[in-house]
């Protein structure tokens, strides 16, 4: 699924990273614990999180994650958005809570899961 379809499925708003809108995503990871995100190996992953701090962007950087969706209407401050922009990571925000956001993406076809070991 392309990032632009994720944007529409989640009724989200894009804060940075228009150039990533045509990237394809096959798997998603919904977590507020960044170490759990890092235990999850998969390519073309979208990260959904309710945690808003610079370490979310760092974690995405280390994991080569190119799209982060902040849930429950969380909106990172400009400094964090800027950090994502510098690293080529797209950032969206949606008003949906975690469970609903994950459910919508799953129903829309993002069904791959990560490998733990």
């Amino acid at each position: 699924m392309k990032a632009r379809d994720i944007l529409s499925v989640l009724d989200a708003e894009i804060l940075t990273g228009d150039e990533n809108l045509d990237m394809e995503f096959y798997a998603a990871c919904g977590s507020d614990l960044m170490s759990d995100v890092m235990a999850y190996v998969k390519e073309n992953v979208v990260l959904l999180t309710g945690l808003v701090n610079p370490q979310v962007i760092r974690t995405a950087e280390m994991m080569d994650i190119k799209l982060i969706v902040f849930i429950r209407g969380k909106r990172p401050e400009e400094k964090i958005v800027e950090m994502a922009r510098e690293k080529g990571i797209a950032v969206m925000t949606t008003n949906h809570p975690m469970f609903i956001a994950c459910g919508k993406l799953y129903s829309a076809g993002i069904t791959e899961r990560g490998v733990w070991d």
């Binding site: 170490s35 235990a39 760092r58 974690t59």
Partner: protein, 144 residues
Amino acid sequence: MTYGIIRKDFVIPANDFTIAGEASSCVKKMLIQLGVDPQKVKKTAISMYEAEINAVIHANGGIAEVEIDRNKILIRIKDDGPGIPDLELAMQEGYTTAPDSIREMGFGAGMGLPNMRRYADKLEIRTEVGKGTIVEITVFLTDN
């Protein structure tokens, strides 16, 4: 890749969680520039980042020494922190001594050391209570 041995040291600043990961970010960029295989870059970046976060959380920061030659990437994270009293316990997924304030930042869930073990090709930890900890992460670039 055509280079000899590259050495670089980084300071991991104390108590500044917002900039934690800066050294790992630099190393990741360096490895990409050197043309290292993307999977090996990712393995190195994640394990170093976890070690860096640990040094900030538990040990008032420390230093990171990075050595890259044609066979391997070696990352040594040294701190003068409290040390790890029971290393075997600390290696278990979910075991943590981090305070709630760290969990609110998305870390401290007891996955740091297990993630380092998961991604590093070799992980060596030397620790002494009251003196500090040295974490050595190796990622091999060649098969032999």
